[in-house]
């Protein structure tokens, strides 16, 4: 069973994403900001991170940069999942090492396609 860490400061979004991911046979963990996500990753690296951009304490972007600079260049896969839906944000995310990008709002099929594209579903 693949493991996915959902990082989002919105409890509602985490719940929705968790539900979808569980139906896709993922084992799911949650974090409410980048810092919490980082410590989760240090404990136990997931296969994929579903990552919000705007969060308190540590943003998704800061988390991603930190993760990729700390020797985790290709693993875990990181799928941004955010309302920042413009080209500039998307490019910045890819440059920082994101593997895929989901523009909110999303549905089950979108998430499934993106997870397939990064090779975890």
């Amino acid at each position: 069973m693949k493991r996915c860490l959902i990082v989002d400061d919105s409890k509602v979004i985490r719940k929705v994403a968790r539900h979808i991911l569980e139906t896709l046979q993922f084992q799911v963990e949650e974090a409410g900001d980048g810092r919490e996500a980082m410590s989760r990753c240090e404990e136990d690296m997931p296969d994929v991170v579903l990552l919000d951009w705007n969060m308190p304490v540590m943003s998704g972007m800061e988390f991603l940069q930190l993760l990729r600079q700390s020797g985790h260049a290709d693993q875990p896969k990181v799928v941004f999942c955010t309302t920042e839906n413009d080209m500039a944000h998307i490019r910045a995310a890819l440059d920082a090492g994101a593997d895929e990008y989901v523009m909110k709002p999303f549905d089950r099929e979108t998430l499934q396609v993106k997870l397939q594209l990064v090779g975890v579903a």
């Binding site: 413009d86 890819l94 990008y101 989901v102 709002p105 979108t110 396609v113």
Partner: protein
């Protein structure tokens, strides 16, 4: 709420006569939802009123709108993925060989809905730009519904539509960002043309090397489906290929096509099976 039998018979007859499509039970459940926007836009109070307007032929455009609303236009970029991989890996290289002198390919997406299938094809060619460098690639998308063709031509999609099937790198490569959506890049658009046309009508003298007719023939009754296959056969080059939707087949439907011996999901005009493949020896 279930639509009355007599009303759904009127709608079914209309849809069938315009498109050959049958109103199946599963779609009957959706009639009300499907027609609600027509009712709203035209300020028609009830479905019964709409039906009587249709019967009285009060407004010639009303029937068009109803038919368009009843059609299933579901589609997305690179739908089902595998067929596009098969095209890129097997079918297009064969055609590249078979047409190496003409350096021209004509492709038809029949029943293209809002255009994602036609543009996905253009994307395949763009991915292999080196091979197709000085080729003339002509992709035609056609659909019986004017509404979907208008949208296909505009090439503008919502964020929901682009991310349903495309990787993010593909999105930023092939689309331009606009205020309220994503528009297909001009160099892709220049490969694709759209027209409103009923697949069941005579198709004239044109010819195609590859025809995609996916998720269209599903709801045709047997006779109409046979007629559609004949129409398709009349425009496919003798060494051309036909691609159907997942779960669709020619077997038991027509004698005009036969399954390709080697490539799963590809059908060939019955008279000549897969000569392009033999010619390449690949």
């Amino acid at each position: 709420m279930q639509v009355s039998d007599s009303s759904s018979r009127v709608l079914a007859a209309l849809l069938q006569s315009r498109t050959g499509q049958q109103l199946t039970m599963s779609r009957r459940w959706r009639i009300e939802t499907a027609l609600s926007s027509v009712l709203r836009e035209r300020n028609i109070p009830t479905l019964d009123r709409l039906i009587s307007m249709l019967i009285a032929k009060e407004d010639p455009f009303l029937a068009d709108e109803v038919v368009e609303a009843l059609l299933n236009n579901e589609t997305y970029f690179f739908r089902d993925r595998t067929p596009f991989d098969v095209l890129a890996r097997d079918v297009l290289p064969q055609l590249a060989h078979a047409r190496r002198d003409q350096r021209r390919l004509r492709i038809w997406s029949a029943g293209c809905s809002t255009g994602q299938e036609a543009y996905s094809l253009a994307m395949l060619f763009d991915e292999d730009r080196e091979r197709w460098k000085d080729w003339k690639i002509e992709i035609l998308g056609s659909d019986v519904s004017q509404k979907v063709i208008d949208k296909a031509r505009a090439g503008r999609y919502t964020q929901f539509e682009v991310q349903r099937g495309l990787a993010i790198r593909q999105t930023i490569r092939w689309f331009e960002e606009e205020e309220d959506g994503w528009t297909v890049a001009p160099h892709l658009k220049s490969m694709v043309r759209f027209e409103t046309r009923n697949l069941l009508d005579p198709q004239g003298a044109r010819q195609f090397d590859l025809v995609l007719c996916r998720n269209v023939l599903l709801y045709l009754c047997k006779d109409k489906r046979r007629q559609a296959f004949d129409r398709l056969a009349s425009v496919i080059a003798s060494d051309g290929a036909l691609l159907l939707g997942a779960g669709e087949t020619v077997i038991g439907q027509t004698e005009a096509f036969a399954a390709d011996r080697d490539i799963r999901g590809i059908y060939r005009p019955a008279a000549l099976q897969a000569p392009a493949r033999r010619a390449t020896g690949t």
